[in-house]
C-alpha cells in the first residue's frame, strides 16, 4: 500500500551519509574543483563507510548488504549534496563491482570482487559514453568482434572516471555480429561488457579530460584499437548482461545525484535570500525571488519521487525503462534550472567562485550528457 516513509535502516543510512557529505565532503568541494582532484583523505574516509564493499557478499569478503536501487538513490542524493565530483570518485569502483554482482560468472566474481573488500580504496571503472553528439546507448559505436578464443574491441570512449588508476575497466561494446535494428530494445540487447586490464595492448588511456564541471573527477577518454580479450573476460559469460537494466540503474543513480546537487543549490540560495537585504527587506520577501525558490522546492521534491518510483520498480524486478528514462531527463532539466536559478538569486555574487552555486551550475549541466553510471 502507498507509503512515503523510509524504513528505519534507510533513515539511519541517510543520516550517516548526509552527515559525512556535509562534514567531510562539502568543505573540500571548492578546492577540489580548483585543483582538479579529490583529496585522498576523503576518498579513504568514504571507503571506510563501506560504500563499495557493502553490497559485496560475505563469501567474497564484503558486508553482504542487500542491494536496493531505492536505498542507493537515497545514499547518492546525500553524496551529490556534498559534492558531485567527489561522490563520483568514491563511487567509481561500483562501476565494475555492481555489474559484476549482477551478472558476473562465479569465476569472474571470485577473481575480481575480493580486491574491493580490503582496507584501502581500490579504483575501478567502466566505459560507456562515446565522444560524439550522436552518442546513443541503443547504438554503441564501440564494437566487440567475436574471434576464436575471445573478442576484439574497437572504439572510443569518454567520461571514464579514474581510468588512469584502475587495474580493470569494464568496457561496454556492441556485439558486431548482431543485426542493426530500428528498435532501440534490440540495440540494448546487442551490448556486452568486457573486463579489460590496464596495459592491454591497443588500450590507450587519454590524459585527464577538461570539462566544464566535475573538474575534481579525473576522467579520461579511452581508445581501443583492436584490444583482444579472452572469452572469460566477457561479463556473464555466454549469458551476457542486461544492458537495458544496467542503464536503468544508471538513470536512477544520475537522477538521485542530480536531486542532491539541486538540493544543495536550493538550500544555499534559500539561506542567502533570507540574509541578503534589498529595498528594505530580505530578498526572500520579494515575490520574484520567493516564487523562484518555491518552484525550485517543488521541482526537487517532484524529481525525487519520480526517481524513487523508477528505483522501486527496479527493486521489484520490473522493467523500469519508461520510468527511469523519463525521470533521468526530468532530473537533468530540473538540476539545470534549479542551479541556474540559484546563481540568479545570488546575483553578481553567484557569478563569483567565492560561492559554490556557480560550481553546482557547471556540474548540473553535465547530467544531460552523463550516462552509464550503473552505481545503484
Amino acid at each position: 500500500m502507498i507509503s512515503f516513509e523510509l524504513s528505519e535502516d534507510q533513515k539511519l543510512l541517510q543520516e550517516t551519509v548526509a552527515a559525512f557529505a556535509i562534514e567531510q565532503i562539502r568543505p573540500l568541494a571548492r578546492d577540489a574543483d580548483e585543483r582538479g582532484e579529490a583529496p585522498e583523505s576523503v576518498v579513504a574516509k568514504a571507503w571506510e563507510l563501506g560504500l563499495v564493499a557493502g553490497a559485496i557478499p560475505e563469501s567474497y569478503g564484503g558486508f553482504g548488504d542487500a542491494r536496493s536501487a531505492l536505498t542507493g538513490a537515497i545514499v547518492l542524493e546525500e553524496l551529490g549534496y556534498g559534492d558531485l565530483s567527489i561522490a563520483l570518485h568514491v563511487l567509481a569502483p561500483r562501476l565494475l563491482v555492481y555489474p559484476l554482482l549482477e551478472h558476473g560468472t562465479e569465476d569472474q566474481k571470485k577473481r575480481f570482487l575480493p580486491a574491493f573488500t580490503q582496507a584501502e580504496f581500490r579504483a575501478a571503472t567502466a566505459a560507456v559514453v562515446e565522444p560524439s553528439l550522436h552518442f546513443d546507448l541503443s547504438a554503441l559505436t564501440t564494437t566487440a568482434i567475436a574471434e576464436k578464443n575471445g573478442f576484439v574491441l574497437r572504439g572510443r570512449k569518454a567520461f571514464v572516471p579514474l581510468a588512469d588508476g584502475s587495474e580493470t575497466v569494464l568496457v561496454y561494446a556492441r556485439h558486431a555480429d548482431r543485426p542493426r535494428s530500428e528498435n532501440p530494445a534490440e540495440g540494448y540487447r546487442a551490448v556486452g561488457a568486457f573486463l579489460v586490464e590496464r596495459g592491454a595492448p591497443g588500450l590507450e588511456i587519454g590524459p585527464p579530460e577538461k570539462n566544464m564541471g566535475i573538474k575534481a573527477l579525473r576522467s579520461h577518454e579511452l581508445t581501443l584499437s583492436d584490444v583482444r580479450v579472452g572469452a572469460e573476460c566477457r561479463l556473464g559469460g555466454d549469458r551476457g548482461i542486461d544492458f537495458a537494466r544496467l542503464m536503468n540503474c544508471s538513470r536512477v543513480a544520475l537522477g538521485a545525484l542530480a536531486v542532491g546537487v539541486a538540493r544543495a543549490a536550493f538550500d544555499y540560495a534559500r539561506d542567502y535570500a533570507k540574509e541578503r537585504r534589498a529595498f528594505g527587506v530580505a530578498i526572500a520577501q520579494k515575490q520574484a525571488i520567493a516564487f523562484m525558490l518555491a518552484e525550485m522546492a517543488i521541482e526537487i521534491d517532484a524529481t525525487r519521487l519520480l526517481v524513487w518510483k523508477a528505483a522501486w520498480k527496479l527493486d521489484r524486478g520490473e522493467d523500469a525503462t519508461r520510468e527511469a528514462y523519463l525521470a533521468k531527463h526530468y532530473a537533468a532539466n530540473m538540476a539545470l534550472k534549479v542551479t541556474d536559478n540559484a546563481v540568479q538569486v545570488l546575483g553578481g555574487h553567484g557569478y563569483i567562485r567565492d560561492h559554490l552555486v556557480e560550481l553546482w551550475l557547471r556540474n548540473a549541466r553535465g547530467f544531460a550528457s552523463f550516462e552509464g553510471m550503473a552505481i545503484v
Partner: protein
C-alpha cells in the same frame, strides 16, 4: 517502506469508479458541456446511491480509532476523484455529497455540528454542501471579506454577496443541503474576525442571484448568492461559540484546504490523464512511436512533447499522493498540499493546452473531447487557491515566513 502500489482496496475502488466514469460520464460529457445549466439528475442519482453509507467522499476528517490501522481515506479519495475527473470534471463537481462545505464542517465543526450537518449525507435523497468564500471584491485575499455577521439575540444576521459558489444553488434550492458562508464579525479585526456560518436550505434571506456561464466545467453550477438579513441560529457558527474571540475560526477552515488541495490536484490529474491517454492512442494509430531509451536529440518533436507531458502528470500525481498520505497519517501537510496543488494545476494546464496544439484541427474541434478537457483543466490553476497563492504558501513554508513577512 516506500511503496508506490495501491492497496487492494484502493485498486478495487479505482476499478469501480473507473467503470462508473466510463459508463455514465463519458457518454454524456459533451451533452452537459453544451447544455450548461441542465442538471444531470440521472448521473447524480446514480452516484448518490453508489456512495451511500460511506464517508468515502469526505476529505479531511482526521483518522479516528474506528478507522482501523493505517486508514487511507484521503488517498482513496484522491484515487476516486482522479477517475471521476477522467470521466468528466464538470459532472464530478455536480455530484451530490458533503463536498467542500462538508469538508469544512469535518475540519472545524464541533462533534454536535458534525452530527447535525453531516449525517444527512448518509441517507435519503441527494444533498449538497457548498462553500461560499469569494466575493466580487475579494478572492485570494480572503481576509478582506466584506460579508458581515452581526449577533442579534439568538441569531446571527448575515449580509453580503458571494460569487463563484460551486453547487450553491443545488445546496440551497435543489436539496436539503447547506452553504458554509464566510463572514466577518468584526471588519476592523481582519482575519481574526472571519468565521464560517452554516446556512441551511430554505433559510429566508439567502437567494441565488445567477448561475455563471463558464469556460469549462460547465456541468457544475457556479452560483452568485445574495444574503440580505439572513438569520441563522447562534450555534450555526462553525466551531465552538468561543470561536468569536480567537482566530481559530479562520485557521480552522483554512485547514480544510490542506485536505481539499490534494483532492483538487487529483481532479486536475484525472483530466490530464484522459488527455494523455487519448493522445497516446492517437499517436499509436498514426504510427508515431514513443521510444524510451534513445538519446533526447533523436526524439521527434511530438515524442519529446508527449514524454514531457506524461512526466509532468506522474510528478503531479506523486506529489498529490504524498500530500494525501500525510493527511491520512496525521502529518501536517500544509507545504506538501500546496506543492501538489500548484504542480497539478500548472501541469494539467500545460498538458491539455499542448495536446490541443499537437492534435491540430482535430484538437480544436468540438467533435473530440480534447478541447473540452483543456477548458475544464484551466480552473484547476485557479480555484481552491490560485497557482500564485499556492506558490506563496510554499514560499512561506520554505522560509518559515508568516503571511505578513511574505505577501
Amino acid at each position: 517502506m516506500i511503496d508506490f502500489e495501491l492497496s487492494e482496496a484502493a485498486q478495487n475502488l479505482q476499478a469501480m469508479v473507473h467503470g462508473a466514469a466510463e459508463a455514465f460520464m463519458r457518454p454524456v460529457s459533451r451533452q452537459f458541456d453544451e447544455e450548461e445549466h441542465t442538471i444531470p439528475w440521472d448521473f447524480i442519482d446514480f452516484m448518490w446511491q453508489a456512495t451511500q453509507g460511506s464517508d468515502a467522499n469526505l476529505a479531511g476528517k482526521k483518522p479516528t480509532k474506528e478507522d482501523g490501522p493505517a486508514p487511507e481515506r484521503n488517498l482513496q479519495l484522491a484515487v476516486s476523484i482522479e477517475e471521476l475527473s477522467w470521466g468528466d470534471a464538470g459532472l464530478y463537481l455536480s455530484m451530490a455529497g458533503p463536498g467542500l462545505g462538508g469538508a469544512a464542517v469535518a475540519a472545524a465543526g464541533t462533534p454536535e455540528q458534525k452530527a447535525r450537518f453531516l449525517s444527512r449525507f448518509r441517507s435519503g435523497k441527494p444533498k449538497w454542501a457548498a462553500m461560499a468564500i469569494t466575493e466580487p471584491g475579494c478572492g485570494s485575499d480572503s481576509s478582506a471579506i466584506q460579508t458581515t455577521a452581526v449577533r442579534d439575540g439568538d441569531h446571527w444576521v448575515l449580509n453580503g454577496t458571494k460569487i463563484f459558489c460551486t453547487a450553491g444553488h443545488k445546496a440551497l434550492l435543489e436539496s436539503e443541503g447547506f452553504v458554509v458562508v464566510w463572514a466577518t464579525v468584526d471588519k476592523s479585526a481582519g482575519r481574526v474576525g472571519i468565521k464560517a456560518f452554516i446556512v441551511e436550505h430554505g433559510t429566508p434571506g439567502i437567494s441565488v442571484a445567477k448561475l455563471e456561464h463558464k469556460l469549462g466545467i460547465r456541468a457544475s453550477d457556479t452560483a452568485m448568492l445574495i444574503l440580505e438579513d439572513c438569520r441563522v441560529p447562534l450555534d450555526n457558527i462553525l466551531g465552538s461559540p468561543e470561536i468569536t474571540r480567537t482566530s481559530e475560526g479562520f485557521k480552522g477552515v483554512m485547514a480544510t484546504f490542506d485536505a481539499t488541495r490534494p483532492a483538487v490536484a487529483a481532479s486536475a490529474i484525472g483530466i490530464g490523464r484522459a488527455t494523455i491517454e487519448f493522445l497516446r492512442e492517437t499517436l499509436q494509430k498514426e504510427g508515431i512511436p514513443i521510444r524510451y531509451g534513445i538519446p533526447a536529440s533523436k526524439l521527434a518533436a511530438v515524442e519529446r512533447d508527449f514524454m514531457e507531458m506524461e512526466t509532468l502528470l506522474e510528478a503531479a500525481r506523486l506529489l498529490t499522493w504524498r500530500a494525501a498520505w500525510m493527511m491520512d497519517r496525521g502529518i501536517p501537510n500544509n507545504l506538501e498540499a500546496s506543492m501538489a496543488k500548484a504542480k497539478a494545476g500548472l501541469a494539467v494546464t500545460q498538458i491539455t493546452q499542448k495536446a490541443v496544439e499537437i492534435l491540430g484541427p482535430l484538437g480544436y474541434s468540438r467533435s473530440l473531447l480534447v478541447e473540452k478537457w483543456m477548458r475544464d483543466a484551466k480552473i484547476n490553476d485557479i480555484f481552491e487557491g490560485t497557482q500564485q497563492i499556492n506558490m506563496l504558501i510554499v514560499a512561506r513554508r520554505i522560509f518559515g515566513y508568516s503571511s505578513r513577512e511574505l505577501s
